[in-house]
Amino acid sequence: MQPVIKLAEIHKVYHTGEVDVHAVRGVSLDILPGEFVAVMGSSGSGKSTLMNMIGCLDRPTGGTYFLDGLDVSTLDRDQCAKIRNAKIGFVFQGFNLLSRTTALENVEMPMLYNHAHLPAAEQKKRAQNSLELVGLAQRADHKPNQLSGGQQQRVAIARALVNQPSLLLADEPTGNLDSQTSIEIMGVFQKLNDAGITIVMVTHELDIARYTRRTVILRDGKILTDEPVRDRLNAETELKNLKQAQEAVRLA
């Protein structure tokens, strides 16, 4: 099977002032379709830099990166934008929705830059379907300030999915959420992954990483460990347990 992501000896050096910062020092990584990978590491481990390169927001200074079989390490700004639009869906820690814009319009936004030029009705239908996937079809005309944090993150996920990307990239998606909402979001990810969507997620929370299938730990710009997740958590069960525990507290 052709890997979605194929990193070979990726390096990233920042030239800032006197000293060169070597943020990523030779990372090689294959991620196959249908995988759910957590990239972990302490701050300064190079995980954000690596994510930016995987997301085509930044270019490596060394090595090659094949996304969906296409060498994207040498593309220019506009070509990168096109790749981001067609092949990658982003989910951010801060949700990054457009304020004073409805959920539906937020989800439609990536299609505005799509080269397929879908008709407006088709755009709306796809945005609606996307919102349905994350269980927010009823909130389509709500604006971000009328939605909870968890709902906002779902809108962001719907936006990431709307162009049917090969890869969903999540950067600390639960960083701004409480534990119950975090589990709910992980439930959404697990559901999408079960449906065949490849997800790469950056996190520094160990228990969040346990909802994925594979954990890659970075340190000092290199891969420290790369292993499958043992005793993987199921979001649905965890949510049920959490609710029972809350119930018990209330009864006592």
Binding site: N52, G55, L57, D58, R77, D78, A81, K82, R84, N85, A86, F90, F92, N96, L97, L98, R100, T101, M109, P110, L112, Y113, N114, H117, R159, N163
Partner: protein, 402 residues
């Protein structure tokens, strides 16, 4: 991106900050408004002057006799007896593109009718005169070539003369005494009002030039010759040809006549209003430029404020050029809407000025077009730098921007 999508985006972004958008537009509104108002007022003024010049007649070329000099004494302009009726005939027969000519002889005299008297201008003309001056006969008819040949005692009179001598009476058919000679009134001219120099053009009695020269003043030279060219384009050619013809006929060393055209008079008369319109236009353009700077300023603030939005858009696949177009269209929308509101404001201001001062105002359609195009142009020029700045943002840094 689709064609209409960026306009929708721009409209939405501008609606989000209604007050700010309106204040930003105010610069352009005032700039365009003052351009339109000043152009309307000066165009109205020059139109008024042009109308006065046009009341002289259509495509008129006038030949004046030259200066009279005798033994070192120099008479004033037009004092020399040099133009003749034969010159008039020669012009009519030999110069191309001449449709009508009239030799003119003028004198002020006391006239009598109905036991009343009045001092007025007695003018000898040919029957072509009303056509040259574009002057209709209100009542009766103009005298004819037959009247000229027979040195007839007929007259066509102006409105003022009617008011003074024929009160509440139809003057056609009545008799008028000029220097003890009775003239029959055959026609009354339409009222033409005051000319460019403030003279009452209706205070006039027109008689055949032969009657004037033989019966009243007994002279052989005419004061001037009025010529009508076939078209506006032919005026200069007719002027040159008349000059050549008369120099040839008069055979004098010095040119003893002057040929003036309506175009020259028009240019002289409108020079003041032209200077005024250039000055006003220049001042108004400065305010338009200030409006443009206001737009640039606000667009720069807007780009900084929306850095994160730009980052999000870039992350989901907007190219630099998509962002550039988005902000450029916002700036153009601001200035174009401001421009349209400015046109309305300027026209209203001109109407109000006209209402209170009585000055005629006129908004030329061309200037409405110029105002639209230049306000859109100002949007492009002042919006380009902020939009370019937005399009060059690094998506990673833009996303991290707080």
């Amino acid at each position: 991106m689709r064609i209409l999508a960026p306009f929708k985006l721009a409209a939405r972004a501008l609606r989000r900050n209604k007050m700010r958008s309106l204040l930003t537009m105010l610069g352009v509104i005032i700039g365009v408004g003052s351009v339109i108002a000043s152009v309307s007022i000066t165009t109205g003024a020059s139109k008024q002057v042009e109308d006065k010049v046009a009341s002289l007649g259509q495509n008129v070329v006038t030949v004046f006799s030259g200066n009279f000099t005798s033994g070192g004494m120099r008479g004033g302009w037009g004092s020399a007896p040099t133009l003749t009726v034969e010159d008039t005939t020669a012009i009519k027969n030999e110069v191309a593109n001449v449709v009508a000519v009239s030799p003119e002889v003028r004198d002020r005299m006391q006239i009598l009718a109905n036991g009343l008297n009045w001092n007025t201008q007695i003018q000898g003309e040919s029957p072509d005169y009303p056509q040259i001056r574009d002057w209709d006969i209100a009542n009766g008819a103009m005298f004819t070539d037959a009247d000229v040949r027979s040195i007839a005692k007929v007259a066509v009179i102006g409105k003022t003369v009617v008011d003074q001598l024929f009160i509440n009476q139809d003057p056609v058919g009545e008799t008028l005494i000029i220097r003890n000679i009775p003239f029959k009134v055959v026609g009354v001219l339409e009222s033409k009002g005051f000319n460019l120099f403030g003279q009452d053009q209706d205070d006039i009695v027109i008689i055949p030039y032969t009657s004037h020269m033989r019966r009243i003043t007994k002279r052989i030279f005419v004061n001037s010759i009025m010529v009508q060219a076939a078209s506006k384009d032919a005026i200069n050619q007719v002027q040159d040809d008349i000059t050549t013809l008369l120099r040839d006929r008069h055979k004098s060393a010095e040119q003893d006549f002057t040929v003036r055209t309506q175009l020259e008079l028009m240019a002289m008369a409108t020079s003041t209003t032209r200077i005024m319109s250039v000055l006003l236009g220049a001042i108004a353009s400065v305010s338009l430029i200030v409006g443009g700077i206001g737009i640039m300023n606000i667009m720069l603030v807007s780009v900084t404020e929306r850095t994160r939005e730009i980052g999000i858009r870039m992350a989901v696949g907007a190219r630099g050029r998509d962002i550039l177009i988005q902000f450029l269209i916002e700036a153009v929308t601001l200035s174009a809407v401001g421009g349209i509101m400015g046109i309305a404001l300027g026209m209203a201001a001109a109407k109000i000025t006209s209402h209170f001062t009585g000055w005629p105002t006129l908004t030329p359609y061309a200037w409405i077009g110029i105002a639209c195009v230049s306000s859109a142009g100002i949007g492009i020029v002042s919006g380009f730098y902020p939009a370019w700045k937005a399009s060059r943002l690094d998506p990673i840094e833009a996303l991290r921007y707080e």
